[in-house]
Symmetry: C2
Subunit: 801 residues, 2 copies
């Protein structure tokens, strides 16, 4: 179906309208997957997030307007409790919904499931940063109208979102009623029973203020337990025939602007709704002050005008894409998908302030809106190189919550700080401690993200202000937690690694190696910033203790099989009976008890393989190859966090087609809804992981040494791969073909140069002096590792380029 531009405004980007590589499109065919579409079409600026609901609110999978950090706390109980089990849990709750524009045609409500839908399409434009909607609908009474809308959540103006909406009478005049709502405490469907879904709190918001003036309104609410206040204002711009009457109605949970009248054939009513949001602790700005703030922001947005906001949105995104874009000359769907993923990563955070990025961003309430290790493990490794300011902001958020992490460590009778496995407000919210609190590696993931950020940016100011303290307190955790056994080695026992089909294991390789990196990174940083370290109470003896522990970290290895053990004893466990596991048995966690999963050699998600990705220098090439073969055969990928590290390592050891197919699975996680959970929100870690699969997998980029290194290798089905990395303020552009690798600094001033490794050769790349090297032949890696029956990723690598 052809996209139809707004009647009175030229198309946003007429020149690329046909470029599907920058657009995501959904039609009426997708109504039965409406929740998924709402996640895919979610818009955000890292501060406000709107799910991509239809303007008229029906059909609806799950409405949602999220403010980063805005949440309620709810009591949780346990059939059998235990010491330090959290008794309150954070749950994201919707701010009042400003997106609703309902329409009645001759008193019949617009619902695309009724009447006749002549045309329907929605498009997410990845460069314009908007969702456009176009619908031609004939009511059951036979009246034809055209509804069009454009939504944006402003990247430059963090408080602002806009719905630009219009209706046109197509064939004959119609009686029209439009209600533009701002609605609090909207009902959210409860999907209890699925542990991955959100917990629903009924009526989480208590009304404090409601005001209207002209066609504008504002609502102020507060939460009870989390003691947060939220204010939302809407300012309308209406363009309607004179016959159309306007009324407003304001009650505690709803402000409504209603337009009624006769719309002659061929005439339009256009309504632009400028919404502004703010939230604050209840002991901060009072309700009136907060109301004034959002009213002013909405007014200012209206004064700026929708066209100007559109232009500003485009400008912000052009700047972001300059570094973030990846060109993948291969499968058009995957080119589109990697951009889709990067778009959502870019809009999930923001460089100002100290907000982080929840596992679902602001696209849904899955995992209760919690922040998990996904952020430091899968999202920040991307943003550090394409939007480093956003990575810094997320790490500042961790630093901001350091007091709670220290308190949690004290509660757990541990040293240093223990960051929560899942949280919004900073307190531990894990309700199943063996796969939550015991996942101590989140602390090393945070330290790793600090080290990567500082390494990639040279941001010593951040290190001094926040990074060092994060490194020190997490190093203290590991030093106190581990112990030296008879063998003289430093052991970390009774923790849970990334693989959630194991728990409470001893000497998980990933955890141990990441703890080593954490201890050494903290020691190095302390020595670089001795004065700051002294203020944190670190003395040389403590640092020496960290180094000694790091040097002695135990790494279990099975000599007989010649592979590392995911954790001590892993390779001695019983094998999973894949022959008697049917396709319907996946995901295994829904069909087998932990009692079975934990004690057998079945891997939900990359764990030892992830250790090889994060700590590449700890393994020989031969070990990597054998480990990949061993763990590929036992990894079922019941987690969306798995395909990416598997892709990176498959590429490294030379199984490029497998790597490509794993990349494809990672990048298509949400667009193809592979886990059937996209309706709860997007899997940002999987989308970030897709970038890592390209850049670390095929680009062969590693960042564990002082300089970036690249061992690029392309599968036959990729003609060209180009990406950019921000490195100490410079944009390094890498372009790979089957024949050559090209490194350049396209924006740098004369005299600027950086050094890097290419397949073991140290290169210098200077402004105007690209380095170009041939791609070495990919050595024969032998037969592709076997996957568990039925679990190989879909084969896309075999297709034509």
């Amino acid at each position: 179906m052809q996209r139809t531009p707004t009647a009175d405004r030229p198309p946003i980007r007429p020149e690329v309208d046909s470029d599907e590589r920058w657009r995501i499109r959904r039609t009426a065919d997708d109504f039965d997957r409406i929740a998924e579409t709402e996640s895919i079409f979610a818009l955000s600026n890292g501060w406000v997030g709107w799910r991509g609901t239809l303007d008229e609110g029906v059909p609806c999978g799950m409405p949602g307007t999220y403010l980063n950090g805005f949440h309620e706390r709810r009591e949780v109980s346990y059939p059998e409790g235990g010491y330090a089990f959290p008794l309150l849990s954070d749950t994201v709750v919707s701010a009042p919904n400003a997106c609703l524009v309902r329409l009645w045609v001759d008193d019949e409500p617009l619902d695309v499931r009724t009447g006749t839908l002549r045309a329907h399409e929605r498009v997410l434009d990845l460069r314009a940063g908007v969702v456009e909607r176009y619908t031609d609908w004939v009511s059951q009474g036979g009246r034809a109208v055209r509804i069009r809308s454009t939504r944006l959540v402003s990247l430059p103006h963090r408080r602002v979102g806009v719905v630009d909406w219009s209706v046109e009478a197509l064939d004959e005049s119609v009686e029209i009623r439009i209600s533009s709502d701002l609605l609090a405490n909207e009902r959210v469907p409860d999907r209890a029973g699925d542990p991955r879904a959100a917990s629903v709190i009924d009526d989480p918001l208590t009304a404090e203020r409601q005001r209207s003036a002209g066609t504008d309104g504002v609502l102020v609410h507060r939460t009870d337990r989390s003691a947060q206040r939220v204010a939302v204002a809407v300012a309308h711009h209406v363009d309607a025939p004179d016959e159309v009457a306007t009324t407003v109605d304001c009650s505690p949970d709803r402000f409504r602007l209603t337009l009624t009248g006769t719309l002659p054939a061929g005439r339009r009513i256009a309504l632009t709704k400028f919404a502004a949001y703010d939230c604050a602790p209840v002991d901060g700005a009072g309700p009136d002050a907060l109301a004034d703030e959002v009213v002013a922001a909405a007014d200012a947005a209206r004064a700026e005008g929708f066209d100007a906001l559109l232009a500003g949105q485009r400008e912000a995104l052009d700047a972001a894409w300059l570094t973030a874009d990846v060109e993948l000359d291969s499968d058009v769907e995957l080119q589109q998908a990697i951009r889709f993923g990067l778009f959502h990563l870019l809009q999930a955070g923001r460089p100002d302030g100290d907000r982080t990025i929840p596992a679902k961003g602001l696209t849904g309430n899955g995992y209760d809106g919690h922040v998990l290790w996904d952020t430091e493990g899968y999202v920040l490794p991307v943003l550090t190189y394409v939007a480093p300011g956003v990575a810094r902001s997320a790490l500042r958020w961790r630093h901001h919550h350091l007091p709670q992490a220290r308190d949690r460590a004290a509660e757990l009778r541990l040293t240093g700080a223990t960051f929560p496995w899942r949280t919004i407000g900073g307190e531990e919210c894990s309700g199943y401690w063996p796969a939550g609190t015991a996942g101590l590696h989140v602390n090393a993931d945070i330290a790793d993200a600090v080290l990567r950020y500082v390494g990639a940016t040279g941001d010593e100011e951040f290190l001094a202000e926040a990074g060092l303290e994060l490194l020190v307190e997490t190093a203290r955790l590991w030093h106190g937690f581990g112990h030296v056994a008879d063998d003289g080695a430093f052991h970390i026992q009774g923790v849970t690694g990334p693989d959630e089909y194991a728990a409470l294991v001893d000497d998980n390789v990933f955890t141990n190696l990441m703890a080593r990196r954490n201890l050494r990174g903290a020691a190095d940083a302390v020595e670089r910033l001795p004065e700051v370290a002294a203020r944190l109470g670190v003395d040389p003896a403590e640092v020496a203790g960290w180094r000694a522990a790091a040097d002695a970290v135990f790494v279990p290895y099975d000599d007989k099989r010649g592979v590392h053990e995911q954790a001590a004893g892993f390779t001695g466990q019983a094998e999973w009976d894949f022959a008697n596991t049917s396709e319907d048995d996946y995901p295994l966690l829904l069909h087998f008890p932990y009692l079975e999963l934990y004690r057998k050699q079945v891997v939900k998600q990359a764990d030892l393989v992830l250790a090889m990705q994060r700590c590449p220098g700890e393994f020989t090439a031969e070990q990597k190859a054998r480990n990949v073969a061993y763990y590929e055969a036992r990894t079922v990928r019941d987690s969306s966090l798995s395909a990416s590290p598997q892709a990176v390592l498959a590429a490294e050891v030379g199984h490029l087609d497998l790597a490509y197919d794993l990349f494809a699975e990672s990048v298509m996680q949400d667009l193809a809804d592979l886990g059937d959970k996209t309706g709860d929100g997007l899997h940002l870690a999987s989308l970030g992981g897709a970038w890592l699969a390209l850049v670390q997998g095929f680009g062969g980029m590693r960042d564990d040494r002082e300089l970036l290194s690249f061992d690029p290798r392309l599968p036959a089905c990729i003609d060209r791969l180009a990406f950019n990395l921000r490195w100490h303020g410079h944009r390094l552009r890498v372009t790979l073909t089957g024949a050559e690798a090209r490194y350049e600094l396209p924006d740098a001033d004369g005299g600027t140069a950086i050094e890097l490794w290419h397949h073991g050769e140290r290169l210098r790349v200077a402004a105007g002096e690209p380095a170009v090297r041939p791609m070495p032949p990919v050595p024969d890696a032998g037969p592709e590792p076997s996957c568990p029956p039925g679990r190989r990723p879909t084969r896309r690598s075999a297709g034509e380029r």
Copy 2:
């Protein structure tokens, strides 16, 4: 204070009134521990249980009338659920309370906390099987009355309980009002927050019928989810002056008989309340039929009369004590306590039918009234020898629930049967699977109890009807669960042993050795009953598989330290920092997370030591001595299940004073309320464990071979220890002094003889021909093992004999 007999009836046992060794006494000093007193004074016949509440219902810790197996189910939820996590849990609920007799004196309610208490005493008489109560009370208005009552729950008549109550005006005439209630849905205090307390369901019973006739009444109720029906009738016998008026009132949740009138000085009103109980599935007997049944039972009891019931009670107990009594010439308090424990064990079950014994018996609602492995692990090893019919009944109960255990195994994707960790109705009710479902050893405990029962009784009929199937299905569980690893050994991984400060461990020695016993015991039994086995689908190949697995069972041993590992890797774990653990930190589970407890060498309760008790032939004497020393130093006894096995092994390896002190701790668990939990009900396992400490510890009795064996050894503080064991129908009496051990068959007919082992010598004991052997000297066991600081049991062994 002198016990005062009933005015018009001679004291029940005038000849032993002063024998404190058969009596438990509580006075007004104990009102601040009223809940504890209610548990201690609980009466039961294994079918009906009454908590020892005061007749007038105040003050009250927790009222409770329990029918064995009567329960409700309640929904449970998890902050983060998982496959096969139980979503319903059984909870014991009270049947209507027939014990209440309230009194008003000049309109002032009797409450021992008000007015003046001239005298107050309650006595549990362990031979009469009654609780007597004697109170002289002066109201705030200055009126003096004497209240006296005797309660019994009839051992011969399983449905019947009686309260024989009277009030006497002492100094002047008083206006009296008495209400004798039958009360359903009585409020129970909710002590949420303590994981060991019960869950409270408000108003669990729905009224179906209520009838009254004369001074008698009956109530019929049902539960909702568990679909059980309960009927309770009361029949009154009233002896009162003519001036006293009688009224009755009957409503859905209450039948009440009220007596009002003037009681002249020196006159009495006597009220005997015969209560009868029954319960059935709602699809069984209808409400009217059930009502008729209990009315008839109450009428019959009244017709028999209280004195006859008293006599029958005494007769039943005399018969029970003949085998059950233990004479301990040492500390009178401990003599009293061991009888107290045996009394509660004897009244907790009954030989007819197929009822089992919950962890708290019918004495309280602790652990939700659940049956745990305590029964097979600690209670049946006693009852098998002192009341074998009760043990058989409890094992039949397991067999009755085999279908649910098979279903649970299928749900868990395991083979054979998986019995619940905790249950009332047979379904798994564990809400924390690492310390519940993962405790698979409960299945081996059941098999062990079957083998012990059959070995001690020669009851082949039971074996054929029920025992064999229990053995086969549990053997199938182990055979399917374990796996043979590279080392050729059979490993059982990812399970939880007895010690709850560890979870999800590999090759827990207790579990592995008990599984071996289970596998071999099943194989032996199959070969003895081939036809029955064939009907169960067992073929020789399956049996061969069991034997091969049993032979290959892995037993982890630390060569360097010369000790067994509680589970693989245990001795390599970090040590607990006892030096920095304060007394207030105990029990550790309330002050440290599992994250700390599980990964360190701290033991809540005997585990490896229990393995040495149950499977003595698997360890050498030297290993036992070293293991005792090693684990004693790391065992904190935060569980009441621990002292007994520690006592048995301490005695075996020669630390007799330590064994005595551990025995004392076990036997005083409830009388001294050592865990501050006696108010929730008695710790039957600890009370059973006390008998094991004496018989297995100082008697040195072991039953893992075909004949009983004894290696008796007494600490200096015991002058004489005599106990009886029922062995293949005969009563074997064992009398130990410092000088000699005497074995005899006091009741046997001529020609009867049994063989046994005494310190390695095979003896023949025949009717009229006791075997007497000297006690060998106790070899020097070296210094007493050290306990964790502050955790040694109270030293009682040092006292004079």
